[in-house]
């Protein structure tokens, strides 16, 4: 954080106080922590609508629609002619505003039109997204079990592919719950191949969850490192600057 300017100095000092306030929870729950927690929630909630208005609604919709992007030069000519087609923005805006009828018992059906439209759009996008994301993954899972590189057997790559395919099949098999009824517990029969293979998927899933957990711990520690670095280098330097030590 840039603490060389007075504005940077102020934000660094405030940032440090906020960080220490949140860290104070490590000692125990206290009013200092609670105040800053509420402050963060309030800022995050307020920031969203404000940024949408400032970065999108105003410059992209309202300004061009109201003709505020047009500059009038001293000779009376305009930088660009007004585009009346911008007024078409009013149609989706009016349509979207029907959502507010959800608060009226009598006219709530109007809101349902918007909800239906949103659901339809979301559904279509989800299908489009599925093909864009998952199909390449399915084709990507078709791996050769024996890999040759420059005419020689690539042992490590072959092992990797075998491990990948085996893991994929065993985990998929673990989640087959709907067919291949297994009566082995009742009649003592050996059970189907599918049911006998199913438990093998579980340890592989556990390894995966372990990786997830480990990476989560790593991410949290990274946040701690960044904050400690901020306090030790930036905040202490800014504080020294203010009290005239540095």
């Amino acid at each position: 954080m840039d603490s060389t300017t007075s504005w940077g100095l102020v934000t660094t000092l405030i940032g440090g106080v906020c960080t220490l306030a949140i860290f104070s929870f490590l000692l125990k729950e206290n009013p200092f922590y609670r105040f800053f927690e509420h402050l963060f929630i309030g800022i995050a909630a307020g920031l969203g609508p404000l940024l949408v208005l400032r970065d999108f609604l105003w410059p992209k919709i309202l300004e061009p629609m109201l003709g505020l992007t047009i500059t009038t030069y001293p000779d009376g000519t305009l930088s660009e002619p007004y585009q009346p087609l911008y007024l078409l923005y009013l149609v989706p805006m009016a349509f979207g505003s029907l959502y507010y009828f959800i608060y009226s018992r009598r006219h709530a059906w109007l809101a349902k039109i918007v909800i239906g439209f949103t659901l339809g759009t979301s559904g279509a996008l989800a299908i489009r997204g599925f093909f864009g994301e998952v199909v390449p993954q399915i084709t990507g899972s078709f791996k050769p079990l024996v890999v040759f590189s420059n005419g020689e057997l690539a042992l490590f790559e072959s092992f990797n592919n075998i491990l990948f395919v085996a893991t994929l099949l065993l985990v998929l098999n673990y989640f087959f719950f709907s067919f291949g009824k297994d009566n082995s517990a009742q009649d003592g029969s050996p059970g189907t191949l599918q049911s006998r293979m199913a438990p093998l998927g579980r340890p592989l899933l556990m390894i995966c969850f372990g990786a997830f957990f480990g990476s989560t711990v790593m991410a949290r520690l990274a946040l701690l490192v960044e904050r400690v670095q901020f306090i030790i280098t930036d905040w202490v330097a800014a504080l020294s600057n203010v009290v005239g030590i540095g």
Partner: protein, 280 residues
Amino acid sequence: MILAVGIPVFLGYSRPPSRLVSAERMYEVMAKTEFKPGEVAMVWLDFGPGTLAENQPQAEVILEHLFRRRVPVVLLSQYQQAEVALQRVPREVAKRLERELPDQRWSYGEAWINAGFRPGGAIFIQALVNASDISKFLGRDVTGMPITQYPNFAAIGGVERVKLVGEVTGLTGVFDTIIQFFQKGGYQPTVVHGCTSITIPEAYIFLDSGQLKGLLEGIAGAAWYSEVLKQHYPKSDNTKLLVVNTALSAAHLVIILLIVIGNLVPLYQLLRQRLWGSHG
């Protein structure tokens, strides 16, 4: 834990980072992607203060590499809280490069533009990839200037002219949107990704399927990428990043130690109870 993290940071002590193949592969892709005049890289900085610790170093190394190659970069975001990152990261990278190479300049409008936060997610990206001219479609940058006014970005043209897409985020939904929608018939961009540690296992699926051409895994990924950059540009300064990476490793050692102690103590108690418990 605070001590384990704080001591390397306080002393500025660093160790060389571990080699990460995914980051190295990403360097190769970034170095080999050819950009003809007028073609650009599009980097999405979809992170806010919550994941800044990991995503900012990643964004810095990606931008540093692109800036060194003089590739014009369009910066934008689908995430509201990314505003600070969009402003600060390219400016700091440019400043650092100018300190290193005083006779060269990396200025706003020439090296990069900031198209800001763009809401709409999938719908926006669909419209973007189908636009006949991205410069006109994006309209104005965050300063209110029409993007067509910047010579390097005046007429980008269709999405085919975006040769490289970078996505730096810890939000899997936002990343998925890029993978799902930043493509159209016959056009598949080269996508590289900087992810937080939490999302590494998920990101690997995309790396394995070839949807991602390179991956930076948390701070460690950024640290190794910076080291590879240093091998190619010896004056590149990655001291701060290596200190952070070392502090993180120290924290990991403490965690491993705690896990070992946490398991050995009950094991010892169990053994003592079994072997000598009956004898008091």
